[in-house]
């Protein structure tokens, strides 16, 4: 259909749809539109458009409406999809990210029970099972922990205790002291009933060219924006501290802070506690990296460089995909 035809259809169906199943009192209070069971719009289809029908929950009312629409408009002219509840895309504050958050939100404080705190990067999926993703040095004490160890949200450095357990350590990428590593990552299995708000998270990945604007949401610095300053970075020697010491990484992504964060100013892309953040293309784009290390100096802003594992290396190593 032409866009104009879809607009006319939308207009004529709008009133019928939004007042279905709505009480007179709701109409009088002006709540009819928010209480409507479906949302209508225009969806690109081929070289033209179809009438987009989006609904939150399945039910007899929605089923009847969709059936009538298909009968009257034509099966091929409507594009029907369930979208679930829709919420405003607000960014949690730093205070929220470092506190106890239920449901969990990617970007919040998380950690192994005897470490400090890092960041929950994402939820990943394998064979229908979901896992929490962060760094090995956040969830698995860089390989010194044991499967089944408790994982807390917030992490101990943010006041997390045994009462804040959200899951247990599942597995982690091995860290080799004698050879080059590519990934510092670990998975935790969430406890029953632990939910994660995945509104707006990326479910796709992208391969970097080397000069992209990227962003991340982390436990310490919140939402920050950066620029990819190098890719395929080899021989990155990273100090893991304690009993682990220095480890070498190949194939890493380097990022410097860039202007364009929430307050419009440039600042460091990351600081201690941001380990485990998922890095994505700026503007809510695809995932590109898992943040794990930083330098003392350098970078476009002189505030240090941030290093990230390539997200496809992380996901491929565990055989998982990003959950949305």
């Amino acid at each position: 259909m032409e866009l104009g035809s879809v607009r006319e259809l939308k207009q004529s169906w709008s009133t019928r749809v939004t007042t279905r199943g709505v009480t007179g009192a709701q109409v009088a209070r002006g709540q009819a539109r928010t209480a409507g069971p479906v949302a209508l719009g225009a969806a690109p289809r081929g070289s033209g458009y179809a009438l987009a029908v989006r609904y939150r929950h399945e039910g007899p009312l929605v089923a009847r409406l969709v059936e009538r629409l298909r009968d009257e408009v034509g099966e091929r002219e409507v594009d029907v999809r369930r979208i679930g509840p829709v919420r405003a895309l607000t960014t949690p504050t730093m205070e929220q990210l470092q506190g106890r958050l239920r449901p969990l939100v990617p970007g919040c404080s998380i950690c192994h029970e005897v470490d400090t705190a890092g960041t929950l990067g994402a939820v990943v999926e394998r064979d229908g099972e979901r896992f929490l993703l962060s760094n090995s040095h956040v969830l698995a004490r860089a390989g010194l922990a044991s499967p089944g160890d408790p994982v807390l949200q917030p992490g101990p450095a943010d006041g997390g205790t045994a009462q804040d357990r959200v899951g247990v350590l599942e597995s982690w990428s091995p860290l080799d002291p004698d050879d080059a590593n590519r990934v510092d990552a670990a998975l935790a299995r969430p406890d029953a009933g632990v939910e994660v708000d995945l509104t707006g998270v990326p479910t796709t990945t992208a391969v970097l060219d080397g000069d992209e604007l990227v962003e991340k949401l982390g436990r310490t610095t919140g939402l920050t924006r950066g620029r990819v300053t190098a890719i395929e970075v080899d021989d990155v020697v990273v100090d893991f501290g304690g009993d682990v010491g220095l480890l070498r990484f190949d194939g890493q992504v380097e990022v410097s802070g860039a202007a364009g964060g929430p307050d419009g100013t440039a600042g460091p892309f990351s600081r201690g506690g941001d380990s485990g953040s998922l890095v994505r293309l700026a503007g809510g784009g695809s995932a590109v990296g898992l943040l794990f290390a930083g330098s003392e100096a350098g970078g476009d802003d002189g505030l240090g460089m941030t290093f990230c594992n390539v997200v496809d290396d992380v996901l491929g190593g565990f055989g998982v995909i990003l959950a949305g």
């Binding site: 400090t116 510092d184 330098s295 350098g298």
Partner: protein, 92 residues
């Protein structure tokens, strides 16, 4: 203008030459003005003189990055850098 494959090949060769330098803490490629350069990170400025400005026709960008560390939150018992020492705390 250097393409990605050319920069990557030159990087690999330069990397082999720089392995003897303990101050090198990362070597990669970066996109600049539509082409690619080799990037070399070093811990100290003194190491810059051992890194060429060009390698096989590819621009080499050297940056002093200091050391690289993982980024967990600091321990609560860890002393705060640049904070006042005990003697500097004013009486309540």
């Amino acid at each position: 203008m250097t393409d990605r494959d050319t920069a990557r090949a030159a990087k690999d060769e330069l990397r082999a030459q720089l392995t003897r330098l303990p101050e090198v803490t990362g070597i990669g490629i970066g996109r600049r003005h539509g082409g690619y350069v080799i990037t070399v990170n070093v811990t100290e400025r003194a190491a810059c003189e051992h890194v060429p400005e060009h390698f096989h026709g590819v621009v080499v960008e050297v940056r002093v990055s200091g050391h690289v560390r993982t980024l967990p939150a600091p321990s609560m018992t860890q002393p705060v850098a640049d904070g006042p020492g005990c003697d500097e705390v004013p009486p309540a």
